[in-house]
Amino acid sequence: MIADIVTLVFICAGAALSLAAAIGLVRFPDLMSRLHAASKPQILGLILMMFAIAIQIPHWGPITTMFLVVTFQMMTTPVGTHMVGRAGYRTKRLRRSMLYRDELADAVARAEARDSAQRTARTVPKDSQT
């Protein structure tokens, strides 16, 4: 009985978090914010659902499999979001109005200034790869 109630709570919470992730994906205005919505609440939702299943089927087989599911989800999602965010930033697919402060742009500007200073210092100008 108690196990069933706990399962119910976990499944509902997990479903609610996944739903919130979906809503955020639609409602958030720009790429970066959407990445947050798409990746994060959903992991906790998945973990809660896995806990719920583990309570209902307390055998080693399913539990170890779910452990793997959660582990790989936790390892791959940040990498995926990082790659999308990085590509989005580099191809300038971002809304400037949705950035209060951008310290990466400052760093890029500094690096470019340094590069051009080096280029002018050399007698033969050479285009760099990037």
Binding site: A20, T64, L68, G85, Y100
Partner: protein, 206 residues
Amino acid sequence: MTTKRSKARRSILQQALLVLVLCALWIMLWDQFTVLNIVTGLVLGILVTRWFYLPPVELSGRFNPFYAVQFILWFTASMIIASVHVSWSAVRRRGVRAGSVIELDLHTRSDLLITAVSVVLGLIPGSICIEVDRPHSVIYVHVLDCSTEEAIEKAREQIYRIEHLLIATFGSAHDLTALNEWRVENGRKPVLAQRTIRPAGKEADR
């Protein structure tokens, strides 16, 4: 002399650990703990590490269980709080305000720790690592709904907290020294001071 040998021993130990982890993964995938599974798991582990050779991960060789537990508890709590927060900002009326990209100069120089910090902050809702400057170990993090100076400072504090806990858990002596120098400069207590690199004079009597 001995350092070379102990280094070789350590790398063999690391390889063995990797193969064991792969074997455990194999057993978990099959859901059966049988001799055949263990043997095939070990063989496959060795083959995979030979075929798909990657540059070895440099482990520091130390692990502090006290800080590991502290890290796991803190991580779980902040993940739950932040998940609820992001979900709430998805459904509430006003949505989100502008975010910020902030620059974090990490104290560690180890690839493993930079990766670990980026992955952990990627798991805690509200922050994603979008760019890494590996030679200077600087990471650039996008923080959701962060349009005041206080919010930026809070996010910075949180990410340094991740780094601090991870270094205290498995960082090398170098990383601990760098972290403690920063902490002392900022008027905080150093952590695990006995584990940092000793001054040059004391090195001889070890």
